[in-house]
């Protein structure tokens, strides 16, 4: 303390000229700060401000027009009502299942689709195509395909003598069925990302492995797999963010039902909003925010760190 005091006292006259110079530079800079302005206004008003406001309104009983501060009541409600709290568990389950399957299937598809086979271009387009169909379109289509009595899936199963379950009507199964459809629709992106990664591997690595007598499985295990780390990071992060926030598909396929068995946080937020419980809805949003941040940020840090170590 005693050491720093004199120094701070001594500084004022000196930095005077540098700041003056940078200020003049700023005026002349070919990259003016006001280029940020249009983006900053839109982003600040419609994204940053509502995000901060949500932390306050989550603590209120709120009807758009006036709000009454009620402390943590909304969160107490959220964590004590099983049908609300379950949406948190479902969100986690859903995100983990979808991103896990996307990693595994995406990698398998990518290895297959970058090997020497006929009709490779066609196959790649077909796998990618569902990505372009809206979640609503996919949801309605699979709602029909998964119909317990007349749906195509159960008809086919009946043809082989299997009594198909009620994919979307069985409370134990509904969430998993939707997750499965999510993977169906989204695995194309994961596959593409992995293909881009595989293509970037120098051919010499595979040749060297071959010279050393590595089998196809071994060269996959020891060459492809370790080099796929950056791609895997991307796939995991992207699909986790997507999975945790998922709404449209669940809403069109089950509406959170039967009962509350496939409710996730995003659908709970919408339901409470519709019911007019704006404070509770916003509290759900805050829980979602915390959940996404608590999972994605450490994961991001962890996965990127491992990369540096290698």
């Amino acid at each position: 303390m005693t050491d720093t005091l004199p120094r701070t006292q001594a500084t004022p006259p000196e930095p005077e000229s540098p700041t003056a110079r940078t200020r003049r530079d700023k005026k002349r800079s070919p990259y003016p700060m006001w280029f940020y302005l249009p983006a900053a206004i839109i982003y600040g008003v419609l994204f940053v401000a509502p995000t901060f406001a949500s932390f306050y309104f989550a603590l209120t009983r709120w009807t758009i027009f006036d709000s009454e501060f009620i402390g943590l009541d909304n969160f107490v409600t959220f964590f004590s009502e099983p049908y609300l709290f379950q949406s948190l568990i479902h969100t986690l389950l859903y995100a983990v299942i979808t991103s896990g399957l996307k990693v595994v299937l995406g990698l398998l598809f990518a290895v297959f689709l970058s090997s020497q086979i006929i009709a490779r271009g066609y196959l790649r387009s077909v796998v990618f195509f569902p990505v372009l169909v809206s979640a609503v379109g996919v949801g309605v289509t699979f709602r029909v395909l998964m119909d317990p009595f007349d749906g195509l899936i159960n008809n086919v199963l009946a043809g082989v003598g299997i009594d198909g379950p009620g994919w979307l009507t069985d409370p134990d199964l509904a969430l998993f069925s939707v997750a499965f459809v999510d993977v169906w629709a989204g695995v194309g992106i994961a596959t593409l990302i992995y293909i881009a990664g595989i293509v970037a591997i120098p051919q010499e690595y595979f040749e060297a492995a071959k010279v050393d007598g590595a089998s196809a499985v071994k060269s996959f295990r020891h060459v492809t797999l370790p080099l796929m780390r950056p791609a895997t990071t991307t796939v995991i992060i992207l699909s986790l963010i997507g999975g945790l926030r998922s709404f449209a598909l669940i809403w069109t396929m089950t509406g959170g039902g039967p009962g509350f068995s496939s409710d996730v946080l995003a659908s709970m937020v919408y339901k409470q909003y519709q019911a007019g419980f704006y404070g509770l809805s916003t509290a759900g949003n805050v829980v979602l925010f915390v959940l996404v941040a608590a999972i994605v940020i450490p994961l991001f840090w962890f996965l990127n760190r491992k990369e540096v170590d290698r």
């Binding site: 406001a53 309104f57 758009i64 195509f129 195509l152 196809a216 060269s219």
Partner: protein, 284 residues
């Protein structure tokens, strides 16, 4: 290329067997649902209600098409107009506004950079707070308006665009800027006449990817633009689901119609979509 090591003969077998197997599996898993949409959209109401995957006994494709377009006072036409305005408006704005940010962020080293980078990452990760956004929009008088929704889409899609632009600007040599400055170009001319044209390829990528997102978006129109007047195409499907009850032929015709624009886009811009979706894969 990667895994099929072995004798040439084995390779040739793998090439054909693997490829054919792939075709069969993808046909069952990926093509059948699309065929189902098309076939159901061509059936009579009664036949469609059986939900079967079968060839239509009578083709009602044109009748269904006319019926769906006329339904509820041509709401689908309104919706297509709305969705087009929404997509074109928000993507255009997004490109200009985020290109400016990405450009200055890459070129100018200032003490604000870490903070701005943080905001960009936050934009990718943080789920938007729904009701507070409605509250803000309402106090600005842009709730339930198309331009309000356009601005919301811009705000939510901006982060991705900025990342794309920043990465691309890094590949443009600074000497170009310096030459233009020497020639007396101001900041605006430098950006719009020298840099912006060079961004063409990344602009196409951003346009294509964001168009798919905005056109297919369901959640934001549902929250921020409710009501029939402003319905977007995605909402028509959702509303028809309630209204048409079990008239699956109309519903699937609607799905078919709103899928076609993206299909056409994919066929034309295949490469850009792939580039956009996989960007960052190699960089991590």
């Amino acid at each position: 290329m990667t895994t099929a090591a072995g004798t040439p003969k084995l390779n040739r077998t793998y090439k054909w067997v693997g490829g054919l197997l792939g075709i069969v599996v993808t046909t069952v898993v990926f093509i059948v649902p699309f065929a189902f949409i098309f076939l159901t959209a061509s059936k009579s109401g009664q036949e469609a209600s059986l939900l079967q995957f079968s060839w239509p006994t009578e083709w009602h494709f044109v009748e269904n098409l006319v019926e769906v377009i006329q339904a509820r006072d041509y709401i689908l036409v309104t919706a297509f107009i709305n969705s087009t305005i929404l997509t074109v408006g928000s993507v255009t704005l997004m490109v200009v506004v985020s290109a400016l940010v990405g450009y200055v962020l890459q070129r100018r080293k200032s003490r604000w950079n870490p903070f701005i980078n943080f905001l960009v990452l936050a934009g990718l990760i943080v789920p938007p707070a729904v009701v507070p956004t409605i509250w803000v929009m309402q106090s600005l008088g842009i709730y339930k308006t198309l331009h309000g929704l356009i601005l919301v889409e811009v705000a939510f899609g901006m982060a991705f665009c900025v990342l794309m632009f920043r990465a691309f600007v890094a590949t443009i040599p600074r000497e170009l800027d310096e030459a233009a400055i020497m020639d007396g170009a101001g900041p605006l001319r430098l950006f719009f006449q020298v840099i912006f044209p060079l961004l063409r390829s990344v602009i196409v990528t951003v346009i294509v990817v964001q168009s798919v997102f905005v056109f297919n978006d369901f959640q934001n129109p549902l929250y921020f633009l409710p009501g029939d007047k402003g319905a977007t195409v995605q909402l028509t499907v959702y509303n028809f689901l309630g209204q048409f009850n079990a008239q699956w032929n109309f519903l699937f015709m609607d799905i078919l119609l709103i899928t076609i624009p993206m299909l056409v886009m994919y066929i034309i811009f295949n490469r850009q979509i792939v580039a956009g979706m996989t960007s960052g894969a190699v960089k991590g």
